[in-house]
Amino acid sequence: MAEIKNYTLNFGPAHPAAHGVLRLVLEMDGEVIQRADPHIGLLHRGTEKLAESKPYNQSIGYMDRLDYVSMMCNEHGYVLALEKMLGIEAPIRAQYIRTMFDEITRILNHLLWIGAHALDVGAMTMFLYAFREREDLMDIYEAVSGARLHATYYRPGGVYRDLPDTMPLHEVSRWTDEKEVKRLNANRGGSVLDFIEDFTQRFPKYVDEYETLLTDNRIWKQRLVDIGIVSPERALQLGLTGAMLRGSGIEWDLRKKQPYAMYDQVDFDIPVGTNGDSYDRYLVRIEEMRQSNNIIKQCVDWLRKNPGSVMHEDHKITPPPREKMKGDMEALIHHFKLATEGYCLPEGEAYAAIEHPKGEFGCYIVSDGANKPYRLKVRAPGFAHMSAMDELTKGHMLADVVTIIGTMDIVFGEVDR
């Protein structure tokens, strides 16, 4: 009899389902996976090392680029760690803005996840539906920060600026005529808050649409139910966080367990799964989108009623307003110092974590008293999820590997850092 050997397949790094640059070396018996060996590092940019040679504020932009689909949440983790070291707190209004944008980011992330996940499983229409809504959310990003993706909006001591009173408008071009532009601008007449509120009213219907396409779809269920089961015990041992942990039935959410920003002031629920399979994680994330939508609504209400400052007043740490800078010598000096040298953190170390859309995202900063970190360690949720790859895929088929990558919601920016 001929000798039967396992089949080794190099999955990625340039594979359509690799979510970037995942390289999996799969050992297969026919189509059944015997061993999955993830190789990482193809998107390594040395974020942690780069941060060591830059004043603290200049690294905020690097945080955007870690998990490039949930930008502001990454910033939040870093900024919180800085604030912890500095011993300052952002004004309440800034904290509400952060809460709101964390949730907008969560929806942004989950939309990309559901699109990519469904595309991996073969339902390609989901992807474009999800992008339709992402477009609105990115316009909100653009309105507050000027950038659609890498916002750099959070600063230690608050946020870069208050919510503007106008939304950027569409313009007539070769491809969009006046009528089309009018339709596109219909809900952009008011302030950013108006636009966000309008979005929160539309969004639940969109989620219903996704659910009609997927939740009860027989093929979708066949592909997701009982795929990549993680028991609650194993989930804890593997260091899974976020939906990967909640899908297994463990109610762990940093927004509730160690509230930061204004999460103790808003009302929301934490969905948990029961079986710990891909389908449960799918349901958990869908429900999270609905909850996020509610949180955004509450934040919008509060922000409408309570105008105020969005930046800490200590200008040793936060730059003074530009108008003041033009007339006031001290303000000019502050600005010059901050722009050239930055501020120094007291000697010591701090870890701050937030509930990132993918799980626990934390920054650990060690300072030797200088204006740049001695060491910055980023705790990315995707990295821990990635290490569970082998365990989750063992015994499943090749097509399930793709489902599992999708359900882990992996983005290589944060895994490779």
Binding site: Y7, L9, N10, H15, P16, A17, E31, A118, L119, D120, V121, G122, A123, M124, T125, L128, Y129, R132, L213, L214, N217, I219, W220, Q222, R223, M397, L398, A399, D400, V401, V402
Partner: protein, 354 residues
């Protein structure tokens, strides 16, 4: 017209040559529109799926994008065909032809209107079954010759999938030929004469579903596209192909899609027959349109073609073992039960098989 041409040529040429020329002309007359149809099916697919996905689809090349397929063809023609170093070169280049040839050859027995058929073969249905089963060789050989792991996985999947679904498909056809009492496609259509109520779609509804689902699986289209499985095995059997060699696979796939749609229309929806029967033939002017004719076949086929695209925009992809389960455990038993019931009905002389 063909007859007058034949008589005209007979005056100058020996009879064998005349027949050959006439057949050649007929082949060109079928293939040219077919290939054009294939090109515009790709366009229709991109447009229709585009609108289903709240986007535009191609709209840059030519007015409203209508020249897109032409541009695609030109691009593919001028691209280099790269053959992998360790590929089995001859098989590598023969495989796309092997895939395309059966997809085109099957059209030989398709009647487009009453008498509008190239070869009115008595066992037309068998011929189609035989020719379309040859499709699988092109794909398996392509996967094997590419010497790529993704390609070989895909060709193994295709092999298993196509063979399994051929059985369900064959059984569904058995139901049709029992009802029509003939293997000749024109006769099968004629057996459904007399209006919409006489179409086989009603008594054989289960078989219609089974046939069309197997047809989708046979052509490796979503949700059964594990052979191409974009997100699993990249492009499957044609992952190593480029340029025109790649285009041939596409041509084959779309030609088979159109073939399956046309066949479904012929076998279950009365082909070129008008749904009104002869009722409205005497209506002035409109009688020509409402009566039998090629346009009805076109409309019916287009409906099934549209379903293909619709499925693709709607469903997630089955996993390989789930496809097998659906084929063997659901579709084949359904056809068997249906055929048995139909056999009993025919034996007892129940309507509609009097």
């Amino acid at each position: 017209m063909m007859e007058s041409l034949a008589t005209f040529l007979n005056g100058y040429l020996p009879e064998g040559v005349t027949t050959l020329i006439v057949i050649m002309i007929k082949i060109v007359a079928i293939l040219l529109p077919l290939i054009l149809a294939v090109a515009y099916t790709t366009f229709a697919e991109r447009k229709i799926i585009g609108y289903m996905q709240v986007r535009m689809g191609p709209n840059r090349v030519g007015p409203k994008g209508w020249l897109q397929p032409i541009a695609d063809t030109l691009k593919l023609m001028f691209k280099e065909i790269i053959s992998p170093t360790k590929a089995s070169t001859i098989v590598f280049f023969v495989a796309p032809m092997l895939a395309l040839a059966p997809a085109l050859a099957a059209w030989v027995v398709i009647p487009f209107w009453d008498g509008g058929v190239l070869a009115d073969v008595n066992a037309g249905l068998l011929l189609i079954l035989a020719i379309t089963s040859l499709d699988v060789f092109g794909i398996i050989l392509a996967g094997w010759a590419s010497n790529s792991k993704y390609a070989i996985l895909s060709s193994l999947r295709v092999g298993a999938q196509m063979v399994s679904y051929e059985i369900a498909m064959g059984f569904a056809l058995v139901g049709v030929l029992m009802a029509a009492g003939s293997l000749n496609l024109s006769d099968i259509v004629r057996a459904q004469d007399g209006g919409i109520q006489n179409w086989f779609a009603w008594p054989l509804f289960g078989l219609l579903l089974v046939y069309f689902i197997s047809g989708v699986a046979e052509t490796n289209r979503a949700p059964f596209d594990v052979a191409e499985g974009e997100s699993e095995i990249v492009a499957g059997f044609h992952v190593e192909y480029s340029g025109m060699a790649f285009a041939l696979f596409f041509l084959a796939e779309y030609a088979s899609m159109i073939l399956i749609s046309t066949l479904t229309a012929l076998l279950f929806l009365g082909g070129w027959l008008s749904p009104f029967g002869d009722l409205l033939n005497d209506v002035p002017v409109l009688g020509f349109i409402l009566g039998d004719g090629f346009h009805w076949l076109f409309i019916k086929s287009f409906f099934f073609l549209f379903c293909y695209l619709w499925f693709r925009a709607t469903f997630p992809r089955y996993r390989y073992d789930q496809i097998m389960r659906l084929g063997w455990k659901i579709l084949i038993p359904v056809t068997l039960v249906w055929i048995f019931g139909e056999g009993v009905a025919i034996a007892l002389g129940w309507k509609p098989w009097l």
